[in-house]
Symmetry: C2
Subunit: 335 residues, 2 copies
């Protein structure tokens, strides 16, 4: 079928044409020391033959394949899409390919994916973790170079030490939530709900903390990664608790579900219910009414995470990027 084609140009060919040994060619090409004259001859030969080093050979020798892996819960979610974009744009400047996997916020799939990466000898990975500490701790011990993005893993007990070493790039949802809740309480709201997705432990914890005395545990509900599940969670909450006057959606899919469910149930926004959504997506402004949001620097999170895993130099423990409350028209005074 495929034509046999001209044999691939290898380092050996270059060496031969330049009249030097392969070792010298390798050194010249990877910036080792060599005399000016040899260097020129090698470079000359390489361009003359249009030599492209094979990543395969290099990888095998170095016992690791280049590139970075990126694990996100759902690439269809605008937030994670922008995060990916940030990673990709940083990686491109290093000329490193990026392998993406989606976990669906499912620990098992995540473990599967990580297994696959290990098999490929990928040793650098950026992850929005869904799984337990166990898995990630063992991945780290296996020599994987992990950077967490958007959230880190809850490290219960023995793995705490290992996992606290893992750098993470987070957005400061704690302060975002605080200002959002201040805003809502300032409008008179007391019964404030929270729509969360499984795996958003940190964000939920921040919500609980920021709510203080006002916290009603029955008002925080969890959805799985799908749109349906998000809708069900939102509709369920709205129907179950008629006294609810404000709700914070932990992500844009949750926010979308909230708007839809409210519309379906004839709950008017912001008249009957105030809504704040995490993450400023372009359609938040187009929505009716335009949504008040807690904007997150999704792309920057990805970019910084990629920098951390690629530069590999200094390793700050954790960087936290600021969020911003953008007020539009989806919140009103309590009535």
């Amino acid at each position: 079928m495929s034509t046999p084609g001209p044999r691939r140009i290898t380092i050996k060919d270059v060496a031969e044409l330049a009249g030097v040994g392969v070792a010298t060619v390798s050194r010249v090409l990877s910036g080792g020391s060599a005399s000016a004259e040899t260097r020129e001859r090698v470079l000359d030969a390489a361009t003359k033959l249009d030599y492209r080093p094979s990543a395969l050979g290099r990888n095998l020798r170095q016992q690791r394949s280049g590139g970075v892996a990126l694990l996100v819960p759902d690439i269809t979610d605008g937030f994670y899409a922008r995060l990916c974009d940030g990673v990709l744009s940083c990686a491109r400047s290093y000329r490193e390919p990026v392998t993406i996997g989606v976990t669906g916020d499912d620990a098992e799939q995540e473990a599967d994916l990580v297994g696959g990466l290990l098999e490929q000898s990928m040793d650098r990975i950026i992850a929005v973790p869904s799984g337990d500490g166990e898995m990630w701790a063992s991945a780290v011990r296996a020599g994987l170079n992990v950077v967490f993005a958007d959230r880190r893993v809850w490290s219960p007990g023995s793995h705490a030490r290992t996992l606290d070493e893992v750098p993470a790039v987070l957005s400061d949802d704690r302060s975002g939530l605080r200002t959002a809740i201040e805003y809502l309480t300032g409008l008179g709201h007391r019964k404030i709900g929270f729509l969360a997705r499984q795996g958003m432990n940190q964000r939920v914890a921040a919500f609980r903390e920021a709510m203080g005395d006002l916290l009603d545990e029955d008002l925080v509900v969890f959805a799985r990664a799908s749109r349906d599940s998000a809708y069900a969670a939102a509709a369920g909450l709205f129907q179950r608790r008629a006294d609810l006057t404000a709700v914070i959606a932990g992500g844009n899919m949750l926010g979308e579900a909230a708007v839809l469910a409210a519309r379906e149930l004839y709950v008017r926004i912001p008249r009957d219910l105030s809504l704040i959504m995490f993450d400023d997506v372009p359609w938040a402004e187009l929505c009716s009414p335009p949504l008040t949001v807690i904007a997150q620097p999704a792309s920057d999170v990805g970019y910084r995470a990629a920098e951390l895993v690629l530069r590999h130099g200094r390793r700050p423990r954790t960087v936290s990027l600021p969020t911003e409350l953008i007020v539009r028209s989806s919140c009103g005074p309590r009535r």
Copy 2:
């Protein structure tokens, strides 16, 4: 820094423990012929040692690295995000990693990316092509296994033969456009504009064709890949041609820009301007007014493309997936 750790388990270790040669182990593990007894001994040894074959070694030997590459113009665009999702979900069932690159609809970046893939010896690639036929033809000749998704390359002249061989998975925007335009003309519209992005040649051609006599070349405008550019194109069109009564946005970013620009310029939808957008994104329903759209099976396009490149069996020339006009409230009669 990193602990030397226990040496990797290789096929040699397995062979030794099982008391057979490495060749036999390889055969057993990759489904070759072997006696029942040997097979059992090998499998036993492999599980006992928890042996994981190294993709590196295999790749070098087979002169190709596994996995698929996927090139999209912009992962932030909901349509391409869903396309990616489709590819990923198909690839996962084959346990093949997916490397994603974004081209920004730029021929040069695309060529760069392809160069990188060649260097990695990736020989399977799914692309939403932006570049010229030249580049893709040479990629195909270099032995790359290409499948186009969403659009194919315009093949002028000599490369036509090579490129027509490349399978493609498209959505049937021709028929989508036709019904959309019938719908609009049925409402009395005559001056219908088209917002396109560079690289959408096929879609623009379909628009021209479907418009027939009504076509006014001045009403089709092009934007580059960015949000700003899309906005500028939309606003420009609206300001320049006050006689415009309907517009079709060639993608959801264009649609978003159109809504925004209309709002900014006090053009009321659908009263002053009817709008139809390509691609049904979740927010189309949340928008005010809810947008009439030409729905495309983005995820299926990705999935089928992945199937084509992974199964590698029969190669149908091109598959075309149906689109659907979903009528909401963004179109009204001409006034």
